[in-house]
Symmetry: C2
Subunit: 342 residues, 2 copies
């Protein structure tokens, strides 16, 4: 075997042309005569030549790599990554492959200077931010990055500045429809489980707004509804149900801000001998895999992660290649399963 990796110069030598011509030919430049081009490409194939990415990036300033940064509250080694994000990751990976981009994945701490680390260091051409929208303190940072011409796209809540791209779900509508569904099933005593503080969890807060809207429209007595804090994990969902019980509130419908919360709630309710959906309806949000497997299967508001992932990549590339900023808000879809008694 060859003792050294072949370079464009080796190809140039064999093809009897200059290195410049090789470089152009391999990128299919019309500047090079079609026959020469073909011949060079064949030789490259034959030698199993691969363009050196480091050199290529250094020269062109482009990496053809995107970085996916996942921000999570508890970057504990034991705690598994939010399954919703994992699914998104799957579709982002596929979309990148399809467009011949590489994907760098990293768990990130919001305090770190991730922008410098990835885009300024020339590791990636653009960034996809997952779970960053929840850090309200971060929005000034995002605004500053925009001014500096950074390239990123955010999953999550609506952003107020114009030169930015984000993809999100119409959370208010989702909260509205979920609650509407329960209302139509005859439920009257509602609890929303999940944070409703915009500065803590803007997406959950929007879902809560939709929740309130339904109740107000229906003229439900405010005393017949409540809200309990929960973060997006199973344990927190369990605690919330405990808190609800301690508080002595007798709900017949739980609108959970995420499926993970709902799974925790189901667990705790079962433990307490409460029948779902007989005594209480439980509604989730996201439609993660586990929602189909749990007992009873969970009614939920589906977010199309496949589409979401593809859209994130698409908008980011559009930004990189055409310099245009666009955003997209997706509609969630009600998925009816057994947990609400429909």
């Amino acid at each position: 075997m060859a003792n050294r990796k072949p370079t464009s110069l080796d190809i140039a030598y064999r093809a009897g042309v200059s290195q410049a011509t090789v470089s152009r030919a391999l990128r299919d430049s019309p500047l090079v005569n079609i026959d020469t081009r073909k011949r060079i490409q064949e030789i490259a194939e034959e030698l199993n030549y691969q363009v050196d990415r480091s050199a290529s990036s250094l020269r062109s300033g482009l990496t053809r790599t995107l970085a996916l940064l996942i921000f999570e509250d508890a970057p504990d080694a034991a705690c598994p990554i939010n399954p919703f994000f994992l699914n998104m990751l799957g579709s982002i990976t596929r979309e990148c492959s399809a467009r011949d981009y590489d994907l760098l994945v990293s768990m990130q701490n919001p305090e770190e200077d991730w922008y410098a680390r990835y885009e300024e260091a020339h590791r990636a051409d653009g960034l996809i931010l997952l779970g960053y929208g929840d850090y309200i303190d971060s929005h000034p940072t995002l605004a500053r990055l925009c001014e500096n011409g950074a390239h990123w796209v955010l999953w999550g809540p609506r952003l107020e500045f114009s030169q930015a791209s984000y993809v999100g779900c119409d959370n208010r509508l989702g909260g509205y429809q979920a609650t509407q569904h329960l209302l139509q099933l005859g439920r009257r005593r509602f609890a929303f489980i999940g944070s409703n503080a915009p500065e803590q969890a803007p997406e959950f807060a929007d879902r809560y707004i939709g929740f309130r809207e339904t109740l107000e429209e229906a003229g439900i007595d405010p005393a017949a509804s409540t809200q309990v804090f929960a973060e997006s994990n199973e344990a927190s969902g369990r605690l919330a149900v405990q808190a609800l019980a301690d508080r002595g509130f007798e709900a017949d419908a739980l609108v959970c801000a995420s499926d993970l919360i709902a799974l925790g709630a189901l667990h705790e309710l079962k433990k307490r001998g409460v029948d779902v959906p007989g005594d209480v309806s439980v509604m989730g949000f996201d439609d993660i895999e586990a929602a189909t497997f749990c007992n009873p299967p969970l009614s939920t508001m589906r977010q199309d992660v496949t589409l979401a992932g593809a859209t994130l990549v698409e908008l980011l590339l559009q930004q990189l290649e055409a310099g245009s900023f666009e955003s997209k808000v997706m509609e969630p879809k009600l998925i009816v399963r057994a947990s609400c008694g429909a």
Copy 2:
């Protein structure tokens, strides 16, 4: 703001030293006087300087990046990635971060020349292969890569050549223990659900060997056991149960080669009105998240993905940095839940 990204030359200028000294200082080289070093690092901090990775990689030949390649049978956009792999991905991501390596993730087709694409193209220093062991045809390819001095580590079955690293689970033992558990619960008519062909799914085949061993040791009449083909997904698990029923085999214990298969089996059994675990015990393998949520919760053989991911990274880095090849086989652990009637 600065109109241009600062380089090591800018720092050199401000510090009144040469670029060479800056490069050394930033890498904390003892060649540079400690005071000079500190001063240079401060200036770098001040300018928000980031080493350009392309240039650094080009010069040093090292990328400080690993590539995680996931090989899946059905790289269909709609079909979600095997959750077992996704969890592994989570722990690999974390381990890479902890060791200050970047991680490139890609869905890969086994036919493609992924080695050339990633390591030869200088995109990554080493590769982690997930799901590649199943392609028996690939083993010659792996052997060839070894000879060429490639750097990779494989998740899955034992490899026969010495200059290679792999991390896997003792699948034979797992199959043995799983079946043993069912035997002790008084089950006598066993079905193994999953491929048992080594050239198709070597890991499943090893689990099957363990399954057979238990039965032979116990002196179970061979006619009282069977095997049905299934791939590792839910749909395939459902079909397998149908096939079993069509065949007229009345099992009281299903040993499934993976949790996904077991989930499908549970679905199909419920649909047919078979009580689990009353009529039939069902045992999975992997312990994915869904195993805790499904109905009934699934008894299974846990593979510690957190440890597995960390080990994969560790062995690969050891190979890169010390040139040593090591492998590790992990013991699975029986997790008892409701699906077997324990």
